[in-house]
Amino acid sequence: MFSRKQNSQATVSNDMANKQKRYEVLVLALHTDIFRYACWLVKNKTVAEDIVQETFLRAWKSLDSLKDEKAAKSWLITILRRENARRFERKQFDLVDIDDVSVMDDQLSNEVEIEHRELRAIMASLSEEYREPLMLQIVFGYSGDEIAQQLDLNKNTVMTRLFRARNQVKEALDKANDIRGSKNG
C-alpha cells in the first residue's frame, strides 16, 4: 500500500517536473519579447513588469492547455492583452501617458541612443490602435495575417493601421529633422 502510494507520488512529481521544465523554457525563450511588448502596450516599465508577471503566472496555471509550443508566443500575447484589459476593469488608476521616454530607458549615452530615444518617443506617441500592430510587426516579425488573427481584426484594417502608423512615424521624424535643421542652420 505504501509503495503504491510512493509510486503515484513519483509520477505526480515527475509530471510536475516536466511542467516545470516546460515553463522554464517558455520563460527563458519568451520573457524578453513579452516584456518589451508589454512595455510598448502600457508605456510604463513598472506596470509592464507587473503585467508580465501576471501573464506568466496565468500561463503556468493553464500550461496544460498549451498543446503546440509554436503557438506559445501568440498564446502569451493573448494572455497579456487580457491581463492588460483586466487592469482597467480592476481599477481606474492614473496612468500617465509617458511620451517622455526617459522612463522607458534610463541609460542613454551615445548618439545612436539619442537617435533611438527620439524614435522611441515617436513610437510611444502613436495611439494604441496603431502602436500595437506596428510592434507585433517589428518586435515579433508577424505578418499581416498573423497580426489580424492575434488582434482579432480584419486584415485590411490591420494593413491600413500599419500604413498610418508608419506614415505618422515618418512625418514626425521629418518634422523633427526640420526643426533640428532649422536650429542648426
Partner: protein, 235 residues
C-alpha cells in the same frame, strides 16, 4: 499599380513579397530608394523597440511560479486527503450496512424450520426431564437451573448448519418451539418474525441465542422471559 497604392502597400509592410510590388521596385530606382529608406526605418524602430529587460525579471517569474505551485500542491494534498477520508468513511458505512443486511434473521429461520418439520416435533408427547434437557444443552456450555414445565420434545438438530437444541414446550396458550443456538457472527440475534401461521422472537443470552416460535396470536413473551431467567452458561 498606381503610385499611391504602391506607397500604401509598402508603408504597411516594407518587406512585402507581392510580385507586383517587387516588379515595380525593380523597374524604378526611385522606388528602390523609397523601399530601402522604409526598411532602414524599420530597422531603426526595431532597434529602438529593444527596451532593456530588468535582470531579475526571469528570476521573479520563476519564483512566483514556484510559490504558486507550492501553494497549489499543498491545497491539492489537502483535497486528496479529504477525498480519501470521505471514501474510507463511505466504504466503512456501506460495509457495515451491507453486513447487517446479510445477517441471518434467525427468527424467520426458526419459523421456516418449524414449518418444514411439520408435526414430527410438535406432535411428540415425550416427557423430557430437566436432566435430559440439560444433558443436551451441556454441549453448548449451558444449563437450565429451574424446572421448565412440560417439555414434549428435546433434540439436537441442524439449524442452518449450526448444531442447536430444539425443544417443544407447553406455553401459556399452546405449544411453543424453542431453539437454543450457539452464537454465530452471521446471525441477527435481535429479530422478530411472523408468517405461515407462526410468530417468533429471538433474543440474545450470554453465549447463545434463544428463539421462541409460537402460533400466531399466542403470547410468547412470558415464556421468553422465563427462559431467559432460567438459562445459565458456565463461564
Amino acid at each position: 499599380m498606381d503610385d499611391l497604392e504602391f506607397r500604401r502597400t509598402l508603408y504597411a509592410d516594407p518587406n512585402c513579397t507581392d510580385e507586383q510590388i517587387l516588379a515595380a521596385i525593380a523597374e524604378d530606382p526611385k522606388k528602390q530608394a523609397f523601399c530601402k529608406e522604409l526598411k532602414q526605418l524599420d530597422k531603426n524602430m526595431q532597434k529602438a523597440s529593444q527596451i532593456k529587460v530588468p535582470d531579475d525579471l526571469v528570476h521573479k517569474l520563476m519564483l512566483r511560479q514556484t510559490m504558486q505551485s507550492h501553494r497549489t500542491s499543498k491545497v491539492r494534498n489537502r483535497i486528496q486527503l479529504a477525498m480519501a477520508a470521505s471514501l474510507a468513511f463511505v466504504v466503512g458505512v456501506s460495509f457495515t450496512m451491507w453486513q447487517q443486511q446479510n445477517l441471518l434473521n434467525i427468527a424467520d429461520q426458526a419459523i421456516a424450520h418449524v414449518y418444514q418439520e411439520g408435526s414430527h416435533a410438535l406432535d411428540a408427547q415425550d416427557n423430557v426431564s430437566l436432566q435430559q434437557v440439560n444433558a443436551k444443552l451441556a454441549q453448548f456450555g449451558g444449563e437450565f437451573t429451574e424446572e421448565l414445565g412440560q417439555v414434549y420434545y428435546a433434540s439436537i438438530c441442524d439449524f442452518e448448519n449450526v448444531r442447536s437444541l430444539h425443544m417443544v414446550m407447553q406455553g401459556e396458550n399452546g405449544k411453543v418451539s424453542v431453539f437454543v443456538i450457539p452464537h454465530d457472527d452471521t446471525h441477527n440475534a435481535q429479530s422478530f418474525a411472523s408468517g405461515r401461521g407462526y410468530q417468533s422472537q429471538a433474543m440474545d443470552v450470554n453465549r447463545a441465542s434463544i428463539v421462541v416460535v409460537g402460533e400466531e396470536g399466542a403470547d410468547i413473551r412470558g415464556i421468553k422471559e422465563q427462559l431467559k431467567r432460567k438459562i445459565h452458561f458456565s463461564a
